[in-house]
């Protein structure tokens, strides 16, 4: 039941809309079937599966709106759900930010499904492979593998019809030496689980763990750094790039409370804020990191440039703020692509006289929203580079840095890799600010 086909979903939604007596009505279905396995200390700690499908109905009378949902689909329940949304709408205050529902839209078809999926047995096997590799080297593995299929469908009384199915699998592993003196990390997310190689990723994390033993302390200060993609983007926490890009809302900027607010009023669209090598865009049709065909409002996504050659090209305009600003609304993307070059991380290291290789950054929090100053720490593999080679592991460091400053101090941009549904290149940056040492391993 969890994954409905386009026809099944639209037939059900059509039925739901036929029960509506509201001025406007929109019904959305969302479903996911997935499974996960988690392990630590070379043992499985939890494993489970999730199956869910739910219907949300929004009914509107004038500027009053009510939402109700259900997860059973017999006629009585469906009728009751629509009725409840209408009752709630009658009780609600008028929304001063009302925007009419969208009419029919044309959507792209992102290449986002896989033919085969992991099963409980293949998940357990992947975990076992990862653990066996580590146990054989007297290392300890802690990892998480989670994957499945999702769908979302939408239909409204104005004629909008939308449907998309997608698959996604995430894997991450942290490998530590038995004495706790070394730690390494690897992460990947894929549309097609056939492309996931848990063993190779574990090997990478294991190599980093072994080579990070006996880390030396260096003086905090400004250093040239090579930030691997996991140091720039994270799916489960704030990140240097994710925090900045998903914070590009037009409303906050126009209200004067964003790093994109302009002195004297308005926003900084059109201004060059970054190095001219910085170009960041969204593209739902990207083969490696496909995106959603539509956002929560049903707005079609398309290739859209946010930063081009260092210039802010566009901000996120919600439908309400777009109407108010007399500008087109921008569908909120679920990922971004940062344009890069062809060099691998290894090649970036080769071209570095003195610098620091950062595998991963952790516990990043905003210190000042005005300048987008962030703090956080390196983790699971930090190394000193000299004359193009990794010389020795170094102790972890805390940074205080703004991505705005960072993206002005670009030395080189490597080849983008998929991470957390985005395409992120490794970056070589000068004068990255570390402010203290950490004993954490």
């Amino acid at each position: 039941m969890a994954i409905l086909s386009k026809d099944e979903a639209q037939t059900l939604l059509k039925k739901v809309l036929s029960y509506s007596t509201a001025d406007e009505c929109e019904a959305s279905l969302r479903g996911r079937t997935s499974g996960n396995i988690r392990y630590a200390r070379n043992s499985v700690s939890t494993a489970g599966s999730q199956n869910s499908v739910s219907l949300a109905v929004e009914s509107r009378f004038g500027k009053r709106s009510g939402i109700a949902t259900c997860n059973e689909f017999d006629e009585t329940t469906l009728r009751r759900c629509v009725q409840r949304a209408e009752e709630i709408a009658h009780l609600a205050p008028e929304s001063p930010e009302y925007v009419a529902l969208l009419g029919p839209q044309t959507y792209l078809s992102p290449p986002s499904t896989a033919t085969t999926l992991l099963t409980a047995i293949t998940r357990a096997q992947a975990a076992a492979d990862s653990m066996t590799l580590c146990a054989a080297k007297n290392l300890t593995a802690a990892g998480f593998l989670d994957g499945g299929t999702s769908f979302v469908a939408k239909r409204n009384s104005k004629g909008l019809e939308a449907y998309q199915q997608s698959t996604n699998t995430d894997f991450s592993v942290t490998v530590r030496t038995a004495d706790g003196r070394g730690s390494g990390y690897a992460i990947a997310d894929v549309t097609d689980p056939a492309k996931l190689n848990a063993k190779a990723l574990t090997q990478r994390a294991a190599d980093k763990a072994l080579s990070s033993v006996n880390a030396k302390a260096i003086e905090p200060g400004k250093y040239t750094v090579i930030l691997e993609p996991a140091a720039l983007m994270a799916g489960d926490d704030l990140s240097l790039l994710g925090g900045m890009i998903f914070g590009m809302g037009a409303r906050e900027a126009d209200e004067g409370r964003s790093f994109l607010s302009k002195k004297g009023g308005g926003n900084r669209k059109g201004e060059k804020l970054f190095d001219e090598r910085i170009t960041i865009y969204s593209d739902p049709m990207n083969a490696e990191a496909p995106g959603n065909a539509f956002d929560g409002d049903g707005l079609p996504t398309k290739r859209q440039t946010w930063i081009e050659k260092g210039v802010v090209k566009d901000l996120f305009y919600t439908r309400f703020w777009a109407e108010k600003s007399k500008l087109p609304a921008t569908a909120f993307p679920n990922g971004f692509i940062m344009a890069g070059g062809t060099q691998s991380t290894t090649e970036l290291i080769k071209g570095t006289a003195k610098g620091i290789l950062v595998t991963r950054l952790w516990y990043i929090r905003e210190v000042d929203p005005q300048t987008l100053l962030y703090t956080g720490l390196t983790r699971d593999g930090t190394f000193y580079i000299e004359n193009g080679v990794i010389k020795f592991p170094i102790k972890n460091l805390r940074f205080n840095e703004s991505p705005i400053i960072m993206l002005n101090n670009i030395e080189a941009i490597g080849r983008p890799q998929r991470l957390a549904g985005c395409m992120v290149p490794p970056l070589k940056i000068r004068d990255f600010t570390f402010t203290s040492l950490s004993d954490a391993i």
Partner: protein, 550 residues
């Protein structure tokens, strides 16, 4: 909840009020009246639970527990003069955990019938059997005597769900108006209300019915100077609490004035939202032109509404036994306070540092009668006179540290998630000698007084941290002299707690808290409070966070 959601939500920053999909909050939106309807009767719940327990045993489980959960939530969001969203949600379902020959299995369902619960129990058993293929060490579960049929309820005076929505909206809009009148240009405010109706049954012979209530009113007021392009925010000094709507009835006896010259007010078990919002509007505006701090070493005097977050990160997390053992190595991290470190008997802090864990404090969000694996809750020492004496542990961890009992701190964010070790309330005991915040400031030659929690970051083993705050005041020669901005302190856990010079007395004791402590994969959130009195730390490194960009 993913951490980035947590960050957005707690910050209530501009544009962060992105409402859908808040696990642990979200679920089925319902008519507000539905929140007042009683859940299933305990007789029915016992029959359902027994169907699952019997099926699990028949399928081969050595132990099983069943959690029938009905989770009711309502949240109200406003900004300036308007309501943004009012959502009432309900979630009902059952989670079944089984132990089969030393292996855990878990399955959950929202179809609550005897037949389906039996089928779900069998599915949990089959998952446990599949996991057995890769089992290395069998689970050892600490023995637990069944309590029979018992119940517990958060001691509240008035359920927030019984209060008409209009009254709640009016309160938030009045708070917004107070902040705007006092100097703020924008304000986002919210009221989170939670009721967890939990029924726990296990093959140990426990049938525990609990009715848990939590409440959190909060806001973020922002002042903008368009001319200079500068903006500053001040967040509410309220705390999430294990109380009913009575928390929002101001009471002077529950307020604590900050040191003379600071114009700050702290709150115990009653909150004055209008007064705090008015003060926030004034302070947000004042922050636009405050003096930027000179970096260096300062003696810090930390208000409980600030110190709670530092306790959370630097004591709460490192003393979680699952982190200590490496179960969180791939996500939340491990801990410096390993079993080997503890065996060395090294100081965690100065002799003034006495830290206690509990799930009993009235008004705290951690307060429940029994945890999510049927263990009666309790209080125990974590740090005594600066030395680590114990960890936080649940039934399958006790044997690892040579103990026979769980501490009663297992929790699952909902029926559909598996329970695991979560942080109880972790609190710093107040000083035994009489001392007020004013008297504490008098003894400081060069220092900074900090109120309210701000930016926070700590490494994955909990050594190095950096904390900001809401309000900062310079202390010179025993007196508060002027407000400051751009303050953050960097230290490491043992150095910081080693510099603890003592706390004010019980009369200054207050709770800080959060609804969104995240841990686990898939990630789960949990609520936790941290109590303390105003406390002094000597010679802490303060940095200036001001930067100039483009």
């Amino acid at each position: 909840m993913k951490r980035r959601d947590f960050v957005g939500l707690t910050g209530l920053a501009a544009g962060a009020l992105f409402l859908p999909s808040l696990p642990g909050f979200g679920h089925t939106p319902v008519d507000p009246a539905r929140l007042l309807e009683p859940g299933a009767d305990v007789i029915i719940k016992k029959r359902l639970a027994d169907a699952a327990l019997n099926a699990a045993k028949t399928a081969g489980a050595d132990y099983a527990d069943v959690r029938i959960g009905r989770s009711l939530n309502q949240y109200v969001f406003t900004r300036e003069k308007q309501v943004q969203n009012i959502v009432s949600t309900e979630s009902y379902g059952v989670g079944i955990r089984v132990l089969v020959q030393g292996c855990w299995g878990f399955a959950s369902t929202s179809v609550v019938t005897e037949a389906n619960l039996a089928a779900t129990a069998r599915e949990a058993v089959s998952i446990a059997k599949a996991n057995k293929l890769v089992m290395k060490e069998p689970v050892q579960l600490a023995a637990q005597t069944g309590y029979g049929e018992v119940s517990w309820k958060t001691p509240i005076q008035q359920s927030a769900f019984e209060v008409p929505i209009k009254q709640k909206v009016d309160l938030l809009l009045a708070a917004n108006a107070a902040a705007l009148d006092a100097g703020a240009n924008y304000i986002n405010s919210a009221l989170f209300q939670v009721n967890e109706q939990k029924y726990f049954a296990s093959t140990d012979g426990s049938y525990i019915d609990q009715d848990v209530h939590r409440l959190w009113p909060t806001f973020s007021a922002t002042a903008v100077d368009t001319k200079s392009g500068k903006f500053r925010s001040r967040e509410a000094l309220s705390a999430p609490v294990g109380l009913g709507f009575e928390y929002l009835t101001p009471n002077a006896a529950e307020q604590v004035r900050g040191p003379q010259g600071t114009d700050t007010v702290g709150y115990k078990l009653r909150y004055d939202m209008l007064a705090d919002a008015a003060l926030a509007g004034k302070q947000a505006k004042a922050k636009l032109s405050m003096k930027s701090v000179t970096p260096g070493k300062y003696d810090l005097v930390l208000d409980p509404g600030h110190l709670g977050l530092t306790i959370h990160e630097s004591v709460g997390h490192p003393t979680e036994l699952d982190r200590v053992l490496g179960y969180e190595a791939n996500y939340a991290g491990t801990s410096f306070a390993t079993l080997e470190w503890k065996a060395k008997n090294l100081p965690y802090g100065s002799k003034a540092v006495n830290i206690v864990a509990d799930k009993l404090q009235p008004g705290s969000v951690g307060n429940v009668g029994y945890d999510d694996e049927g263990v009666k809750t309790r209080e125990w020492d974590l740090i005594k006179e600066g030395k680590l004496v114990n960890y936080q542990k649940i039934r399958d961890q006790a044997h690892i540290v040579g103990q026979k009992e769980s501490d009663g701190c297992a929790y699952a964010q909902s029926w559909e998630d598996v329970q695991f070790q979560r942080m109880p309330n972790v609190s710093l005991r107040p000083g035994t000698a009489k001392m007020s915040p004013d008297e504490m400031v008098k003894g400081v030659d060069k220092g900074i007084y900090i109120a309210g929690a701000g930016s926070f970051s700590i490494d994955q083993q909990r050594f190095n941290f950096q904390f900001g705050g809401q309000l900062f005041f310079a202390i010179e020669k025993g007196k508060i002299t002027e407000p400051l901005e751009d303050v953050a302190y960097q230290s490491n856990t043992q150095e910081f707690w080693g510099a603890c010079a003592g706390s004010c007395d019980q009369s200054d004791y207050r709770l800080f808290g959060t609804f969104f402590d995240g841990k686990g994969q898939p990630a789960q959130v949990s609520s936790v409070s941290h109590g303390s009195a105003t406390t002094r730390f000597n010679g802490v490194n303060v940095i200036n966070t001001a930067r100039k960009v483009g």
